[in-house]
């Protein structure tokens, strides 16, 4: 009899944990590795550049780690206010858009994003690939690797949901960075520079981090913008600004507004980047 009670208790615990999406019961399940998502990009919807008059200054907002598991109208109301106040042209989401990569979560966040009525450009994060989340991500958003140009500014979006770029994507990134553009901005989920005390989801391969830093230095990347850390960090290493955007639940720096004015990039009250 005690064995039956133990078994039922264990079963109930497992069912409870699985039902609670916030606890990531399925996070140990493996999704597609980065190379396969990269190879799959040509089968997926591409993103077109937003319609922006590049001859005039324009603004865009960057947010990260929304971790959507239930709708959050308050947060999107704040974004909506920022959009109106700052004349935001488009929004970039730096990954971990959903908490556990489920179809319901992707649909929920897409509905709330659509209500903003401005273009948005997503980056895939580690939470988005949980529970085989890439299948849902590609249906809702499309490809995970893309780029576009607005005037002399190149926007590059990479897939580091596994913590790494992988060989094929790194070659692609190199080709995108080689081009002669006035401004080059890279948006991704993982930063090559971790926090001082590494977590278990830190960038796994220090040699790849070194290669990304060297690549940004060689091809004059202006700003490498990422999320994942749930903290705000900015560092300049070998001429490239590495910016980590805070998560949406935080009070400070959870929405970073960039301004592009000709060959100048600025964010956060007059911090200018000129390479």
């Amino acid at each position: 009899m005690p064995h039956i009670i133990k078994f039922i208790s264990a079963l109930l615990t497992i069912l409870t944990l699985s039902a609670c999406e916030y606890l990531d019961g399925g996070s140990i399940l493996v999704s597609l590795p980065v190379n396969e998502r990269f190879d799959d990009r040509n089968n997926r919807t591409n993103f077109s550049a937003p319609v922006v008059d590049a001859s005039k200054p324009y603004n865009f907002a960057v947010i990260s780690d929304t971790h959507y598991y239930k709708t959050n109208p308050e947060y999107f109301r704040k974004i909506s206010e920022k959009v109106s106040e700052n004349k935001i042209s488009f929004i970039i989401l730096l990954g971990d858009i959903t908490q556990a990569g489920t179809a319901a979560q992707f649909r929920m966040v897409k509905d709330d994003l659509n209500n903003l009525n401005i273009p948005y450009y997503p980056v895939i994060g580690n939470h988005d690939i949980y529970n085989n989340g890439y299948d849902n991500y590609k249906r809702v958003f499309g490809r995970t690797v893309y780029s576009f140009d607005i005037g002399g500014t190149r926007f590059i979006f990479t897939d580091t949901a596994n913590g790494l770029l992988g060989g094929g994507q790194k070659d692609w990134l190199t080709k995108r960075l080689k081009a002669h553009m006035r401004i080059k901005l890279v948006f991704t989920h993982y930063s090559p520079i971790d926090d001082d005390l590494q977590s278990f989801t830190a960038t796994p391969e220090p040699e790849e981090s070194a290669s990304v830093i060297a690549l940004n230095d060689k091809y004059d990347t202006d700003c490498y913008i990422s999320g994942h850390l749930h903290n705000y960090r900015e560092r300049t290493v070998r001429g490239t600004r590495y910016l980590i955007v805070n998560d949406t639940a935080s009070l400070d720096n959870s929405i970073v507004i960039f301004t592009i004015d000709g060959s100048k990039v600025s964010y956060k009250d007059g911090t200018f980047l000129i390479r």
Binding site: D24, I28, P33, N162, L164, D194, L197, P206, R235
Partner: protein, 265 residues
């Protein structure tokens, strides 16, 4: 109810019972600590060379998007006494060879089942003008089962300084260099499958014995076959995984190496 010192006494009791129990897993040997101090004297406890092991080999390493290279490795181990073991390791990579990493380690074995080790290493990312300096300390607990298998639990911290630009003279923290503190762990399982052959399975976030990152995960199989008590062959095959939330996706890494082991008694 008066409880002064009760918890301390319970802790000491459990601690001593555990220590005695663990020591008794080695029924044929007295504690090296006691043996050293009482029977052999302090000098022999601190310095009474047991053996030198040197292993030399070649291998191939593939990490997707990072490296695809042959390498040469040399590892030397000196068991200076029951208490102290020291050694160093050199890894050279590429067809136009250059030093990839150099490390020096020292470990003390105060009790048969505990190793406390300190490793200093230098990793050279010459292609990217960057260097890593690691100081890595760890404590390993070894649990033998009747000379058939040994299970090991190893945990520690690696304190890493990354020099972002070896040609730059800047000294600004976070811009020119940065500290990282990395939790390092390893679980090992060794099986003496035959008199002269042993297989070790290692699971942890180290590569070639050196910490990689907290998010790194590697499984390696190491087989050492001793032809006689002085010489043998070794073969290592490792596959690395990495990624978000431990296993959501993987980092495609593969390494193998083969070589010879010499032991001077």
């Amino acid at each position: 109810m008066k409880t002064d010192g009760v918890f301390l006494r319970i802790f000491l009791f459990i601690f001593l019972v555990t220590i005695c129990g663990m020591q008794n897993l080695y029924p044929t040997d007295a504690s090296p600590l006691m043996k050293g101090r009482i029977e052999l004297g302090l000098n022999r406890f601190l310095f009474s060379p047991h053996y030198i092991t040197t292993s030399t080999g070649i291998g191939y390493e593939y990490i997707d998007g990072v490296r695809r290279t042959v390498f040469f490795e040399n590892d030397n181990n000196f068991k200076l006494s029951e208490l102290i073991t020291t050694g160093w390791r050199l890894k050279i990579i590429g067809l136009s060879p250059y030093v990839d990493s150099v490390s020096h380690r020292i470990s003390i074995t105060p009790l048969k089942f505990i190793d406390i080790s300190l490793t200093n290493s230098f990793t050279n990312y010459a292609r990217y003008d960057m260097l890593l300096f690691d100081t890595y300390w760890s404590i390993a607990l070894k649990v033998p089962v009747k000379n058939v298998s040994i299970t090991g639990f190893n945990a520690g911290f690696c304190h890493r300084v990354t020099d972002y630009d070896i040609y730059g003279n800047g000294t600004v923290y976070g811009t020119d260099y940065k500290w990282d503190h990395i939790f390092v762990y390893e679980i090992t399982q060794t099986f003496n499958i035959a008199d002269k052959d042993a297989i070790t399975i290692r699971i942890g976030n180290r590569r070639d014995g050196l910490p990689v990152s907290t998010g790194y995960f590697e499984v390696s199989f190491e087989n050492v076959y001793m032809v006689n008590k002085y010489a043998g062959l070794y073969c290592i095959i490792a596959h690395s995984f990495a990624g978000a939330g431990s296993l959501a996706g993987y980092h495609d890494g593969l390494r193998w190496s083969i070589g010879v082991v010499c032991r001077i008694l």
